[in-house]
């Protein structure tokens, strides 16, 4: 089963510590070595993006940044056997932020991807 993990959060004023990047690389390496990480990448701040909206039959295009308080930071696509495994990998990822970047707050949303194994 495929799970899409979306990390969003609010960065503290301090710059992200290099140890965090290192730890993220290491965890990604472990997930890769376990054969479960299919794809992952970081996302630029929404300032570089845009939003196309349909509301009341009217389409509008708005340039970033989006008004949400939390920015999407990265995505990862995992191939796992259960939601519990997804929670475990996501927890490890969030834990790194807790341990290595004081003041950081955020979340990982776990979404199951439709596929041949669930009628998609």
């Amino acid at each position: 089963m495929r799970y899409l993990m979306l990390l969003s959060g609010t960065n503290p004023a301090t710059p992200p510590p290099p140890a965090l990047f290192e730890a993220i690389m290491k965890l990604g390496g472990e997930a890769n070595a376990a054969g479960v990480l299919l794809d992952t990448a970081g996302l630029l701040p929404s300032q570089a993006g845009a939003r196309v909206t349909l509301a009341g039959g009217k389409m509008t295009v708005t340039d970033g940044p989006f008004t949400e308080s939390k920015e999407l930071i990265s995505y990862a696509l995992y191939d796992l056997r259960s939601r519990e495994e997804a929670v475990e990998w996501a927890s490890r990822f969030v834990k790194l932020h807790r341990d290595l970047w004081p003041g950081w707050e955020g979340q990982t949303d776990i979404l199951q991807v439709m596929g041949p194994d669930n009628g998609g």
Binding site: A33, G35, V36, R81, E88, W89
Partner: protein, 424 residues
């Protein structure tokens, strides 16, 4: 889900992620995969007791490893009949265990790669039957339960349990060492590993029996195993070849089944449903085999064929001539009549059904293919394209009688019906 249940599923998830590394590390200490698995399971039982009360520890994998190692020390101490060497190892472990203090996954990873590789090689040891290897590998390296393996292979659970017990006993009685094969025997032993992984994949990709045409979860297990192996043996081109083959074939799983579960053959598939991510991964793995150089092995060549399909926007746009040529290469490597049959299909597409039929007709006397449903199915297809409908119908009926997959039988019967005069 209540709190206890949530903790329980969290433990199960940790177990699935950690158990292969756990068993591998313990097998290095005990030299016996059976004992290693028992120790690992002891640790799991302790976790099941303690974690719901004390909470899941911060480094659950490291916790399990430390706990299991303590059990291993106990075991060594209790067994006075163990020789001096083993007692030394026991002391070794004790100092290691003391050094843990705060368990940290990082410090324990030093041997993990090698241990995991040893575990894969022992689980796929040629002393075991292919079936036993598959079951043991899924259990020890894939972290599946006996129940899950039995369900995946549509075999009663006691059969799988017995298969695994016997396999472990065979390894133990034969004193099969827990080690990576010497360079001289590496190629053969690796072949045995690749064979098992592809066997698991194929059982999922074209289920040989049962009501379902594919069992994607089994393909996913094989893919994960292949990716793990590729990470452990990055210099082995054929490992990447197998991974490429599986990624590319798996990219078509969603398109291989119709709305009511019926098989859809490659040439009839809606290519928009092919999984672009898996295709990209497959092509990347294939590029790695090419980068490593050397003559491509049978998996790499098959991956190359799968890549021809993956790159083509349509059946007509497929480079069938290249596929037919690749089947010639593959036939040299495997001398399998099944490969020759596939070549007949490709030649039929590249140079006309008559040319394909010439090749297929030469295979009808092959004893190996006597009960193989695909032979009459391919001949039926080529005959139908040549307008020889009566003969085609007989071939499809024969194919339907030979297959043990219900979905496939329905497909062949439908094709036979199409060959009726007045059929579509």
């Amino acid at each position: 889900m209540d709190r206890d249940e949530a903790t329980r599923s969290a433990i199960e998830a940790v177990w699935r992620i950690e158990s292969p590394r756990l068993i591998a590390g313990l097998a290095r200490i005990t030299g016996d995969v059976g004992a290693a698995e028992e120790l690992a399971q002891d640790a799991l039982v302790i976790a099941m007791e303690q974690w719901p009360v004390q909470g899941v520890p911060d480094g659950p994998g490291a916790w399990l490893m430390a706990t299991a190692k303590h059990r291993a020390i106990d075991l060594v101490r209790r067994r006075a009949r163990y020789d001096q060497k083993l007692r030394e190892i026991g002391r070794d472990m004790e100092t290691q265990a003391q050094a843990f203090g705060e368990p940290d996954v990082g410090t324990m990873d030093d041997h993990i790669g090698d241990d995991l590789l040893r575990l894969i090689f022992i689980a796929c040891h040629p002393i075991l039957s292919a079936q036993a290897r598959a079951a043991l590998t899924l259990r020890l390296v894939g972290g599946l339960t006996t129940h899950e393996i039995a369900r995946a292979f549509l075999v009663p659970e006691p059969t799988i349990a017995q298969r695994i017990v016997r396999a472990k006993r065979t390894l133990s009685e034969a004193n099969v060492p827990f080690e990576i094969p010497a360079p001289g025997e590496l190629a053969g032993r690796l072949g045995s590993v690749l064979e098992v992984i592809y066997l698991v994949f194929n059982e999922g990709y074209a289920a040989t029996s049962g009501d379902d045409w594919t069992r994607p979860e089994l393909c996913a297990e094989a893919l994960r195993l292949g990716r793990v192996l590729a990470g452990l043996m990055p210099r082995q081109a054929e490992v990447h070849g197998l991974v490429a083959l599986m990624e590319l074939q798996a990219s078509r799983i969603g398109a291989r089944t119709g709305p009511s579960g019926e098989p859809v053959l490659l040439t009839d598939q809606d290519r928009r449903r092919w999984d672009r991510l898996l295709i990209r991964r497959g092509l990347a793995a294939l590029a790695q085999t090419e980068q490593l150089g050397g003559a491509p092995g049978p998996y790499a060549v098959q991956a190359e064929i799968a890549a021809c399909h993956a790159r083509a926007a349509s059946v007509a746009g497929t480079d069938w001539e290249r596929i037919a040529a690749l089947y010639v290469v593959l036939a040299h490597l495997t001398s399998s009549p099944v490969v020759e049959l596939n070549r007949a299909v490709a030649v039929g597409m590249a140079f006309g059904p008559g040319k394909g039929l010439e090749i297929a007709d030469m295979l009808t006397g092959q004893p190996v293919l006597a009960g193989y449903a695909q032979l009459p199915a391919v001949r039926g297809d080529l005959l139908a394209k040549l307008g020889r409908l009566g003969e085609a119908r007989a071939e499809f009926a024969r194919a339907a009688a030979l297959t043990s997959n219900e979905r496939e039988r329905a497909l062949f019967l439908a094709r036979a019906a199409e060959c009726q005069p007045g059929g579509s």
